[in-house]
Amino acid sequence: MILELLIGLCLLGSVVLFVTPNRYAGRLAAGWSLLPLALSLLMYAGFSGQGNALLGGQLAYETTVQWVSLGPYTLNWHVGLDGISMPLIALSTVLTTAAILSAWTPIEERENQFYGLVLFLEAGLIGVFAVLDFFVWFVFWEAVLVPMYFLVAIWGGPRRKYAAIKFFVYTNVASLVMFIGFFTLVFGLGDSIASLDMPAIAQALRAGELGSLAGVGPGTLKTLAFAAMFAGFAVKVPIVPVHTWLPDAHVEAPTPVSVLLAGVLLKMGTYALLRFNFTMLPDVAQQYAAIIALFAVVSVIYGALLALAQQDLKRIVAYSSVSSMGYVILGLVAYTVYGVGGATFQMLSHGLISGLLFACVGVIYNTTHTRMVDDMSGMADRMPVTTSMFVAGSFAYMGLPLTSGFLGEYFVFLGTFHADFPGAAWFTAIAMFGIVIVAGYLLYAMQRTLFGPFSVKTAHADGGAMRTDGGEGSGSEAEHDIDRAAAHDIVPLAMLLALVIVLGVAPEISFGMIRDAVGPLVTAGGAG
């Protein structure tokens, strides 16, 4: 019942926050979010699952309650965790707390609703990672979109309406495509399943019980379903060329929301790809591995190139997410322990690091009111701590050893290089070039914004352009705005950075359970 308690806590918190006065909402939200955080960390510590959730593994914190019958299918409330979902749930709770803390400064109106929506979002995210019955899973999957839509549309930047609608419509259409793909499989399975339980479906599919549907044979049916589900989830990941909602949503979203968007929402896509496409239809995935790998490599390189061309710090980080998620896809397609496990580890690591970077950009934006690389320089002079965090986060993103970013990418490379599909080594080698481009744009951005003589140009209402030379004079009025960040802005950064380093030095903390969970998948999937 502990998972229900976790989700319930978030939902209850959401309701409570909606009726809390704005003045107290921030503090209450932060305090409340510690509850699911502590609970999920306790669960993490006491995690006892074994094997893969969909392949008959021993689940932790499992509950199954029969709910209703819908035609020939029973709908169940079936939740449980394995080594893939547990770290992701912990990631969700950690990032929610970080996002709430980093929202204290920028969110200045309708706070109670903001924090209420954030907690509602957290509940949805946990549900997506925990639920194992397709119907309920889909409810959570869609429920995540709702708070996200409002968070972007109400508290976003100047083009928030456009970004929010684009995000919502794009991902919703994708859900539809995915839904059709999945139900093709469900109907194709016919009588061999009696519920929409994902483990049951996965095992039935792997046992080859797929029949034909509407005159289409099982082979074609599988491929079609795979393609539809892949297309659906690809939007969420996002994979080039269905990535264009991401930069808009990121740029317009308030920073705390960007943290969650990049940190956890993108992981929903890869998590679902792993659970559905790569676990349920391994043969199709392996048959078309080279094509999927091509998509992955294009995402890596193209995303990185796009990031290189950006001037907006948030856009840079947003596009680099496209690049990083490409590594995840590349790892999944490898079907090796390091490939799939590394992909999962990379999800975790990218969640922490991109969250950290977005939060850093947010802290800078809060004081300078600009995110343009050209508009500022020498921020290190005024915001040394934030700068350190930004630098550390950037290097983690570049894959500096002893941070989780390095290991995530390294595992993926290691796993994919000797994978079975044709050209695996070449794909990997090309994808690795991403680490050079990533270093290029992040170093460029850091050099321009953080270092050099201090100056800030803002479109601030009262100031117009203001310029001050670096060095001594710190008494003039114009500089008053540029001050060290408050402690509550720094705490989430430090928290995330600490996790990034801990995971980078002791990856076994999470890689152990991940490896345990992907093991059956890999041996069952083919290459060892």
Binding site: R159, K161, Y162, I165, K166
Partner: protein, 139 residues
């Protein structure tokens, strides 16, 4: 001047043709369909049976469903309709209309002091502009 009804012919009757067409279709269908012989009630008492059915009482001779809940709901609906009719029709003592503020036919746009129809005509271009604005944002 004494008036008498006169036939108002004109193009507005054209849409009535649709109704005629519908009748034609229905008539064709009904006349070509075949029903068995009606069972009828066989001389049983119809009206008391209706009463029994409405109040869920046993004793009706003719089979029927029970309708107590539906009866009560209809009761409420009538009451609500009565209240609504009164509310819609009420007039304040000083001649000012009430209920207008709460019942708007313009989609809830803020209204100014001019008469309703004028305002609506004026706000129309704005509404169109809003729509366009959204689309520009989308580009």
């Amino acid at each position: 001047m004494p008036t008498r009804p006169h036939l108002n012919l004109g193009s507005h009757l054209l849409s009535g043709l649709v109704a005629v067409a519908l009748f034609a279709v229905l008539a064709t269908v009904f006349l070509t369909a075949s029903f068995g012989a009606p069972q009828g009630f066989g001389g049983a008492q119809v009206t008391p049976s209706i009463g029994y059915a409405m109040f869920d009482l046993s004793g009706g001779e003719i089979p029927s469903d029970s309708f107590l809940a539906a009866f009560e709901i209809i009761d409420l609906v009538l009451l609500a309709a009565l209240a609504a009719a009164v509310m819609l029709a009420r007039r304040e003592a000083d001649g000012k209309l009430i209920g207008i503020e709460s019942i708007r036919t313009d989609g809830g746009r803020p209204r100014d002091t001019t008469s309703a129809s004028d305002t609506d005509v004026e706000t129309e271009p704005n509404a169109a502009a809003d729509g366009d604005g959204d689309r520009e944002g989308a580009n």
